[in-house]
């Protein structure tokens, strides 16, 4: 086992670092969070630069326009990007992380040639239409209906938690094509252009006031049958094929952000006076910092284990679920500590006194995104109990 870079990883790191230094400096200031046209063009500009430098689709196979980098190189790229304060994937998330890899694995040649390049250059933005108001943890119960009418599917229903829908060109969507089949069978995976008639996008504001999410109301939307990815009624398997692409880097961006917030919290504790002394001088605060710091270091090591396993071909069952639950727990614990350190400064979601106070309150709220999104903590615990530990199903 090793933690040091191999010779080739070390030269890749130097190359990436040198490129990032120039590229980041050439970017304009980022747009405001609710400025969706601004965010879209900013993210596209950065993605275009990555594309031209050969870093777009870093973990995609080279034959599909990616770089074909190893999982370790991917991790190095993310580490260096964070260190250089480079823009993150932004509105490109669904396209690059999910829709693109799905089309690579299951799409037709026409779908590949039409969609992959646009995702890599940043020209096309994707959103995800999987969850529904009645189908959250039990996603396979989804009811958005698509019936075949000539060369089209006619889609009716409602989707929720659709990130970046306002800015998106395409939606990767799960629909029920066979209502006589319950659950996993009878679901299909469709590419839905967002400019079709009958799509109503309504923003859904989150607990931290972000307009990231939307609801989609679908009324007689005619999606061409040519946009079916994989076979009809085989969409559940198609939706899960991206799991096999996971090489342990899925949460690296979040973990980098959390590590930065943690350092800011420590600085805050050292500079905040309370009862005639700094908050840092409080043993109970400092020891809590130590425990969270140990957990963050452990989560980095966990990530490196997963990346190392990913480089061997694929993750071990449960390692993604286990990481996510542990990360959510630490994120909540960090948020709780932040509120203790801030005390009355936690009354504002905006930063106070030139300090990142509002950002720390946001980090506590964001912890729920980790413990709820992508399968709640409790669903992950069920997965581990049944598929890793082999405990019997409840029913």
């Amino acid at each position: 086992m090793h933690l040091r870079d191999s010779e080739s990883d070390s030269s890749f790191r130097s190359e990436v670092r040198a490129w990032l230094r120039g590229a980041v400096a050439s970017m304009p200031p980022p747009p405001l969070p609710d400025d969706w046209p601004g965010r879209r063009s900013y993210d596209a500009q950065w993605q275009r630069m990555l594309f031209e430098a050969g870093y777009a689709g870093i973990n995609w196979p080279a034959e599909h326009g990616g770089r074909g980098a190893t999982p370790t190189e991917h991790l190095i790229f993310l580490e260096e990007s964070a260190a250089a304060k480079a823009p993150d994937v932004g509105v490109g998330f669904v396209g690059q992380m999910h829709a693109g890899p799905t089309i690579i694995a299951e799409g037709s040649d026409a779908q590949k040639s039409h969609h992959l390049r646009g995702i890599l250059t940043g020209e096309h933005v994707w959103c995800q239409g999987f969850s529904e108001p009645g189908s959250g943890s039990d996603l396979a119960s989804l009811r958005t209906r698509a019936f075949r009418d000539g060369d089209d599917y006619v889609v009716n229903g409602q989707k929720i938690w659709t990130s970046h829908a306002v800015a998106a060109d395409y939606c990767e969507m799960l629909v029920r094509t066979d209502p006589s089949e319950l659950k996993h069978k009878g679901i299909s995976w469709l590419i839905m252009p967002m400019d079709l008639p009958g799509i109503d996008v309504r923003p859904l504001v989150t607990v931290h006031g972000s307009s990231e999410f939307a609801e989609l109301f679908l009324d007689e939307v005619r999606v061409p049958v040519a946009n079916l990815v994989g076979a009809e009624n085989d969409g559940w398997r198609v939706a899960n094929v991206t799991l096999s692409f996971e090489r342990g880097t899925g949460f690296v961006g979040e973990l980098l952000d959390t590590t930065n917030v943690f350092q800011e919290l420590i600085e805050m504790a050292k500079s905040t006076m309370r009862n005639g002394s700094t908050v840092w001088n409080d043993d109970s605060i400092r020891r809590e910092v130590g425990i969270i710091g140990a957990d963050l270091d452990a989560l980095w090591a966990f990530t490196k284990r997963n990346v190392s396993q990913g480089a061997r071909g694929g993750l071990v069952m449960g390692s993604g679920s286990g990481f996510k639950v542990a990360f959510a727990t630490t994120q909540h614990r960090l948020g709780d500590l932040a509120l203790r350190v801030l005390d009355r400064a936690s009354l504002s979601l905006d930063d106070l006194g030139g300090q990142p106070t509002g950002e720390l309150v946001h980090s506590k709220l964001h912890a729920f995104a980790i413990s709820l999104g992508g399968g709640t903590t409790q669903i992950q615990q069920n997965i581990i109990a049944e598929r890793v530990l082999g405990l019997p199903r409840e029913r």
């Binding site: 040091r4 020891r287 966990f302």
Partner: protein, 324 residues
Amino acid sequence: MDLQPTDDQASLVEMITGFAAHRFAIDTVRSFGEPEGFDRSLWAELAALGTFGIAVPEDRGGVGLNFIDAVLVHEALGAALVPGPLVAATLASGVIDGVIEGSVVPCIIDVGADGPLAVENFRSSDVLLIVDDAGVGLLNCEDALGTDVAHPTDPTTPVTILTNLPKADKIGGPELAKSWRQRGSLLSSAQLSGNSSGSTTLAVEYAKGREQFGRPIGSFQGLKHLLADSWIRTEVARSSVWAAGVTVDEPEVGSIDRAVAGARLTSARAATENAKTCVQVHGGMGFTWEVDAHLFLKRAWILETQFGSIDDAAEVVADLYATR
């Protein structure tokens, strides 16, 4: 970077795990706590596998592997609750003659902390290693006076309270003391990580077999979530223990002190919490002497005090983050 065991490392762990299952079955582990229960020939068998000298250079009689390999070995030993002064023997191998072969049995005390001069496995040891800030000292056990505890908290780990500690022969200075404290702490944490895995396996097997309300209790979500949390705590602990082991071998990748202290925090939490879960999952039987759940819990309590407290470890991590 590669933080998964190589094929050779996986074989090493398999070998130790297989030996422990065969030669240190739980009845044997329990017998080590009996008066005169320490089996010197079994100890020598364990030593003959290269267990203690795994990271000692070959020219000093060891196997010549890295410290991370010793960490993996201790994880496997901890999972099986293998008794005896495993950490002392590993630290002293290649330093004190006879330890690497198992013919000389060492025990160790870190007198840096306040509290009673309690030494584990003193009564069956030949030599006592004494660690303080100034260095490491060596004493024949017969030259020190002590009283054996009648009822040690962990029934498989005999404890002696020393009443007289004569002057020891100095075998190393502050550098050796520092190194032994780091390594001793990390080897103990590796055993804690293994312990957390062993108690989880025991609890999961029980939950699959035990039926109430007409079905296995492991089918109930209340237990599933407890046991999934145990598994997760082990994976987190194992991650930091392995990273710390590699950091000892490759000090340029980070602070050894921070990695070792962090490994203690995550592994102690995993071992103590998982053992508590193991007792709880066993229901009333978990509250009995005959079920093995309490052996994991009590061993975990002993291990988490080795070479510094949990609070010390938290302070170390916090300070090293703050001064970065």
